[in-house]
């Protein structure tokens, strides 16, 4: 079955990225489709929508969204994208996302592109849309069964989890080096903890950047992108399988904010243009301060971000801010707090604006172990996020949980 992803876009052809979007969709077994509308439909749709943009391509986007909302055009998912830095389009893009969510059950993802967009950058998002549509039953799975392993090959760390009968019986992580060697190392450690051997495993699930390589290497039953896998792992770990929640994963290379309903994701945003908003920036901060990354959180908890100015979008300029603040004699505690606040603020400004936050907020991933960052996110959102136990293992737990669905 080919998944049909309706494209509502402005500027893709003129930015030379339309072909890349179509290529990404094709590579995950989907195809981009374009809801048919007549010229007469456009004015009516704009009037009904209530936002009358000056640009005609945006009017066409509104008409196409209305066609989907009215069920006149059949699609499985929606991809809304416009040019990066276009204010008019940004307003329309976000309101159309809400309109689609209010009027359809279609999963939707938004994106703002530059002319440098290439298909691989879109792959995870497209794959997640396809997974949400085509693996609904698998994603609804709430309990792990049998003896399974999950491997999460992330940009910064590689994690392994062994699960048996809905319990974690082994876990290990290491910094990512060679994809297979890192995975072998953590899998061996986790299996040793669990007291099992590789031949005992009934299924393996892989996720993260190295998922395809690991999937092939271990003959995994599940090879799936990290957006859906992580969200399943997060709700399982937080015991929030029912109702609504927002999963926030500030990663080493990119950040994910995912809204879920009954454990199944329905909207997500994934950013990664500026490293100033990533876990990598906190690693750089810790290194420059000559403290272990594990100590950065407790340091930040003792400091006050208001005493040190750090709010650069760019990690390089961010480190310049850091050097300046330290040079001015600011305390390590205040500087650590300012670095955490800077990351949290940017995640809020750049990503959380693109989804409607649902409660509770579950913060996961390796950076959720940095207490100062969790505090900063809580201050900005007005609600302290839940950090479940083993929150850095979400991808591996999700992999073990979902792969048991193939037994």
């Amino acid at each position: 079955m080919t998944i049909k992803i309706a494209e509502l876009s402005c500027g893709t052809e003129y930015s030379s990225v339309q072909h890349e979007i179509e290529k990404a969709a094709l590579s995950v077994g989907a195809k981009m489709v374009y809801p048919d509308v007549s010229a007469d439909d456009v004015d009516d749709a704009v009037k009904r929508f209530g936002f009358n943009p000056r640009s005609n391509q945006l009017k066409l986007m509104i008409a196409r969204a209305t066609s989907l909302a009215d069920g006149k055009y059949d699609a499985d998912a929606v991809f809304i994208c416009t040019c990066f830095r276009c204010a008019e389009a940004a307003l329309v893009r976000n309101e159309l996302r809400r309109f689609i969510q209010d009027n359809t059950n279609l999963p939707v993802v938004t994106y703002s592109f530059t002319e440098r967009l290439k298909a691989p950058q879109m792959l995870t998002r497209m794959e997640a849309l396809v997974t949400i549509v085509s693996r609904k039953e698998l994603l609804a799975r709430e309990r792990q069964t049998g003896l399974t392993a999950g491997l999460d090959s992330g940009s910064s760390t590689t994690k392994a989890v062994i699960m048996q009968d809905n319990k974690i019986i082994g876990k290990a992580w290491t910094t990512s080096g060679n994809v297979i060697e890192s995975a072998d190392q953590v899998l061996m450690e986790a299996m040793k903890q669990a007291g099992i051997e590789l031949k005992d495993l009934e299924a393996i699930g892989t996720t993260g950047y190295g998922r395809y390589t690991l999937g092939k290497h271990y003959n995994a039953k599940l090879v799936q992108e990290e957006l859906t896998v992580n969200s399943k792992g997060a709700v399982w770990l937080a015991n929030k399988q029912r109702g609504e929640a927002t999963i926030l994963d500030i990663g080493g290379m990119d950040n994910k904010a995912i809204t879920v309903r009954d454990g199944v994701p329905d909207n997500f945003t994934m950013g990664g243009i500026c490293a100033g908003a990533s876990g990598r920036f906190l690693e750089m901060t810790a290194k420059r301060m000559k403290v272990d990354i594990e100590d950065l959180g407790p340091l930040a908890m003792k400091g006050d971000w208001r005493n040190a100015k750090m709010n650069s979008y760019c990690s390089i300029f961010g480190i310049q801010d850091l050097v300046t603040q330290l040079g001015e004699g600011k305390t390590f505690e205040d500087v650590a707090a300012a670095a955490c606040h800077s990351v949290a603020e940017q995640v809020y400004e750049q990503q959380l604006q693109e989804i409607d936050i649902r409660h509770p907020i579950i913060q996961v991933g390796g950076t959720s172990l940095i207490s100062g960052l969790v505090k900063a996110v809580g201050e900005i959102l007005g609600e302290l996020p839940i950090v479940p136990p083993d929150s850095q293992y979400i991808g591996a737990v999700g992999g073990a949980l979902l792969s048991s669905g193939f037994l």
Partner: protein
Amino acid sequence: MKVFIDPPNSLVLFDIVERFGHEPLSAMAAIQEKIDNLEIDMPPMNMTLDDVVRGLKYAGVEVPSGIRGRLAMWGPMIEEADAAIIMDDAPYSFGCVGCERSNEMLKYLIKKRNIPILHVVYPSDEEDAKNFVISAKEFLEGLSK
């Protein structure tokens, strides 16, 4: 003479310019060139990254890529034009470039050329339509061929 038309994909304006013996500079010509010469068979607008980068001649990198791509397509035609006909307040069904900021920049680039320009407003009734054709005819006949 080479007459740039705005909206650049208006078939009506294209036809009028051609009927009165001039060469219309339009989106259709640019697209045709892309199909014929570059063997890109995905009309209408399969721009390349190089095209968008060429748009930096007209607008800085902080300007959205879709605008730079549009300017890269029509900017050179404006530079080449000896005259221009601009239709103001045209509905999208008459032809459009899709992006209002690009429209504004195109009009500005035309104005900066200091070439003969005919500004017409989209006709609201038959009488207006006749007047539009008459004024276009007079303008085009006044241009040396």
